[in-house]
Subunit: 200 residues, 2 copies
Amino acid sequence: MKLYDSAISGNSYKCRLILYQLQIPYERIAVDILRGESRTPEFLRMNPNGRTPLLEYEPGRFLAESDAILWFLSEGSPLQPDGRLGRAEALQWMFFEQYSHEPNIATARFWIQHFELDEAKRKALIGKTRLGYAALGVMEQHLAREPFFVGGRYSIADIALYAYTHVAGEGGFDLAGYPAVTAWLDRVRAQPRHIPITHP
Amino acid sequence: MKLYDSAISGNSYKCRLILYQLQIPYERIAVDILRGESRTPEFLRMNPNGRTPLLEYEPGRFLAESDAILWFLSEGSPLQPDGRLGRAEALQWMFFEQYSHEPNIATARFWIQHFELDEAKRKALIGKTRLGYAALGVMEQHLAREPFFVGGRYSIADIALYAYTHVAGEGGFDLAGYPAVTAWLDRVRAQPRHIPITHP
């Protein structure tokens, strides 16, 4: 397998982390999204939506969307929750991640780390900060009662939400008011074969 | 089952459509999101993220996120694609829908239909229009080669993408340049037990 991968992207990190935890060998192909390498004609032939990560699961066959890649790689492994309800709850949290969490927390981090903020972005950042804290609040409420997101054990739902939560500080978010989230970050970090986002 | 449902929401319509197509009896409970009924303390106890649709699949047990609800309801039915790759491709399109399509096309529609646009929203609408057309372009490219999104047949991926594409005009989008999308809308409409978004 090949993973077309951005080193700065939490979405790409989700895939590197699960590939490492499931001990699946793969080739990592760096895509510099800041230089537009995910929008070249060559890349758009592989993923018309022009985004990383992208998994080439067999030569010339591609799967996009980080959380769909997590699903694909985890089938038949302990990282995919069991049962009809477990699978649906994992997906509930993964759609929450892509809709209510990532567009606010990841985008705030991306802007702050990689752009000069103009007036429009500065204003938009206020809204994203408010919505990002709201998403953290939803997580806090759940994690105050549960050790992980689904079924009491570590799964792809935790990987999906860990990716940008653990670097939320780089987007200006202060996790001090979220003790259950902070304790969960530690539990995720303590999993076997955990690797940091900077792992080569 | 009970569905907490917004009549104007395409996300809620996805659930009404699949429940009807799979002939699953349910009680529809109207939630007026324009009057803040999805943000009341009572509603937040059922869904801390404060959004519709919400499925009460047994008394006091809730599942949120429209595409997770589609997954849950379609398990074991012909509407959920078969095979590891089919499942992953369905999820790829459903995450595409929630990340690249809905926040642009559905939000443009919601703003235009239900708000007086101030200067900030008018500016943001320009970006959403550009990104919404980009999402339609990705769909057009796929549908020029394939009759449906996954495996050559109608599935939950089509339901997810149909919900807001067929009302994109209400968000100011002109589908005239997207003949493959338009033909696919007709194929979805021609499925057995199809109901329109206005179906009571």
